[in-house]
Symmetry: C2
Subunit: 228 residues, 2 copies
DNA sequence: GCGGTTTCTGATTTCATAGTCAGAAATGAC
DNA sequence: GTCATTTCTGACTATGAAATCAGAAACCGC
């Protein structure tokens, strides 16, 4: 007794509830709320459909429970950001973007949900904003604003800038099925991931700089080679 | 008789069918296929729900009919691109991006559909690829590849590059509801649109250039002032 | 304005899925 | 091992949306 202060062994109920939440997050984020059926989730979690209603009151509550798993993801991101407190705003923004990309690859459901519900609007988006996205977006916008104020970034509207960076960063990840269909390419291979990260940090963020920092040899190898 | 070689006056049936297609495109692209009901479309088009089945066999066929309206949009884009045939690949790419942004603002449904179905995969994405997106994406990737071969663009994987540019360009437009919820901002005002276009062309595309073309005064005013 | 055709509606059926419930099976403390 | 409790299932109901259809209304060439 000492390693984890939380529950020692989760107990059968909590274990299946977790499986259900994970399956639900995957399906909800990929297909959206209505297109995902309780039956689909049950099959994916390996239980019967009524079992879902034993653990979760209804579909809407299961959706929220699934989303709440992402709180840990965002909290982890936030914690990793703290290491760069004290650095200049641009360096912090660079770190934030790098972390965003890592998190997005590791938990693609987050970006998909933002895209899905962010397009539709409605009460689910309001809920996401209140419980998940609000502080994070605010933090990033504040960073961008500080970098602009410091003369390190071109003076674009910081909200647009942040949303666009997120959309660009998550684009290739979210649209994996499209890339497969259109080009026969799987963007989740290590090679493709490295190229993607290089492109985002080098080119996209680089283009936003107020002065072309070091125009000489900042060329990172975009393909091949393993990531650090 | 001479102005239009097509039908002179559409006739009542075709007129309501068009209203239905337009309403369907708006709803399908915003909410997705399952979340959109035939009843919703009927109300939006000002007809009864069975009327939809008079003009369109079933929901799936109405979806396809709605999507086919976007063919004209893409054809128009393609036609406008022809003006820059003969220019260097980078100039063509710049034109393509500018046109993409214009089209995306004018017909936001296109970007939303790509995002929605491109995330989910499945037969609707296959259909979109075959009937709408395939040639366009191929054309853009070929352009990027040419620009890279000419040494004008940094050598990132052209497919990733194109998808990312599209995701970045459509991001702010698609995520209008998110921007409203998170920041209370409407990105579709003329000012915001101008800033967005400047950001995409100046910063994002600029960052991709192989050599920092003209690092001096290529600073376009990001906000205020009317677009040319 | 008439008659045939096109276009549309109200009423109804069909079907998929969310949600309920009584009771069976698994679990784990003793 | 026993037994109370937790966990889950099969069978069922309720609901909402897609699709159908008979007939009404609008349309249009004459």
């Amino acid at each position: 007794m000492a390693t984890q202060p939380t529950t020692l062994t989760p107990g059968k109920g909590e274990r299946t509830a977790t499986r259900v939440r994970e399956a639900a997050l995957e399906l909800f984020s990929r297909l959206g709320f209505e297109r995902t059926t309780m039956g689909d989730i049950a099959v994916a979690a390996g239980v019967s459909q009524p079992a879902l209603h034993y653990h979760f009151q209804d579909k809407a509550q299961l959706w929220r429970a699934a989303m709440l798993q992402l709180r840990a993801v965002i909290a982890e991101e936030e914690q990793l950001m703290e290491a760069s407190t004290g650095a200049g705003p641009l360096d912090q923004l660079r770190t934030a973007l790098r972390l965003f990309l890592q998190i997005s690859w590791k938990h693609p459901a987050l970006g998909r949900i933002v895209a899905l519900e962010g397009m539709a609007g409605g009460e689910r988006l309001d809920w996401l904003h209140a419980h998940l996205l609000g502080p994070r977006n605010q933090r990033l916008v504040d960073l961008a604003r500080a970098a602009i104020a410091a003369g390190e970034l071109k003076p674009f509207p910081p909200e647009q800038l942040i949303i666009t960076l997120q959309a660009a960063g998550a684009g290739v990840i979210n649209l994996s099925p499209l890339m497969k269909t259109s080009f026969g390419i799987d963007p989740s291979t290590p090679t493709a991931r490295a190229a993607h990260e290089a492109m985002m940090l080098d080119a996209f963020l680089g283009g936003l700089l107020a002065q072309p920092q070091s125009p000489a040899r900042r060329q990172t190898a975009p393909a091949s080679g393993e990531a650090p």
